[in-house]
Amino acid sequence: MGHLVIRGEKDEQAVLCSKDKTYDMKIADTSNMLLFIPGCKTPEQLNADQASCNIIHSQIAGFSNNYWELRRCRPKLKKLRKLLMEDPYEGPDSQNDQTLTISKYTTEDLLSLIQASEEEIMHQLQVIDACKIGGYWRILEFDYEMKLLNHVTQLIDSESWSLSKVPLRTCLEELGSLEPTEMIEHILLSYGRKYIDDGEVYFEMHEDKICRAIAQMLLQNAVKFNLSEFQEVWQQSVPEGMTTRLDQLKGLALLDRTSRPETISLLKVEDLPEDNQERFNSLFSIREKWTEEDITPYIQDLCAEKQTVGVLLTKYARSSMQNGVKVYNSRRPIS
């Protein structure tokens, strides 16, 4: 049987982690007295055991009027990205990488720093496309990541490969002189789905993820863009054969259809606070009123198991009608 671990820094609320789940720990008080008795028998047990119809002396082991209660919660994974962003991997040529191991984290390090179960941490590492370099978990620095992606998309273009059948072997052969082969394979794994056909490894490239990354690259350069200008540049910047769509940008960019001209700006959900109330405060200070469609990508990750966005909105926001459309605003004044 596995064991359970209570995790937390001195200034954090304690959580209990099993192999794959995380639970908030709370102390529950009761006005009643709870006495625990080892060896105390229930009526069923006594009925079954006809022989012992005598006096049984039992000792009360102890008593309490509070107990620890566990409530399943979302693992606190924002810290994981924060730790890995302390020292993003900029490529083998980068100067910084040689020596410092202070801001580098092994799996064991992460387990002792993150309030989440091991499986939840490992899953998140995959979600954020982290890779292990020299035994440490690393996130690629965005520009380096785009550089790698660009090598691959240019090769796909010059070889006229189908986007759904990109051969690993040829990529490594052609690009191996430019970048470490582990990095080439890593970028293919991050932006494609690996499969085997006739003994050879291929990748089916994720059109949406590639378009989204290129959008991020464009949007980082300014605070706001003219929406139609952006859409034009964006479409021209993505690989041949790919089609850009605004819904690829959910949780990455915010559209303002009320301004003239319409604008778009970068807003990444992973940059927002992890705590529910703080998240809503942050969103309402960015924009006073939100439609459900616009706010959903920015609160979806807050939903607990079996909880819907609607439930969150009812709890943390107030709704009203504006021009025939339902909008949500803060329940309290935002400074």
Partner: protein, 117 residues
């Protein structure tokens, strides 16, 4: 960060204890302490209703199967004197799946009621 491990105690199955839930508080009769003192007598009626006699009071309760069982944890190590490395850890000593709940008001047992003629 602190990591406190909770492990299962012992290779064999876990002991099953029973919880007794009483409303209010239990106080030692005279000066004394609770430790070592007698609480009372527990009986079951033929129908399986638990009956608790404490002092000269009688309480009727009921057997409740806990929806969320309890685990009894015993803390080991991590005393104040010890270095920071030696974090406390807990072992699960027993599980509690049943409780005897006494919510009704204790009734005094009156043994001798003189009747006026």
């Amino acid at each position: 960060m602190v990591q406190i491990i909770i492990s299962s105690g012992g290779a064999g199955g876990l002991a099953q204890w029973v919880l007794l839930e009483l409303q209010g508080e239990v106080e030692p009769r005279q000066s004394g302490r609770l430790a070592g003192s007698l609480l009372g007598d527990l009986h079951y009626t033929r129908e399986g209703v638990p009956v608790l006699i404490v002092g000269h009071h009688i309480l009727y309760g009921r057997v409740v199967q806990l929806e969320k069982p309890f685990a009894v944890l015993v803390k080991r190590g991590g005393g104040e004197a010890e270095p920071a490395e030696l974090h406390a850890h807990y072992t699960v000593t027993a599980l509690i799946k049943t409780k005897l709940l006494f919510k009704t008001r204790p009734k005094p047992i009156i043994t001798n009621v003189p009747k006026k003629v």
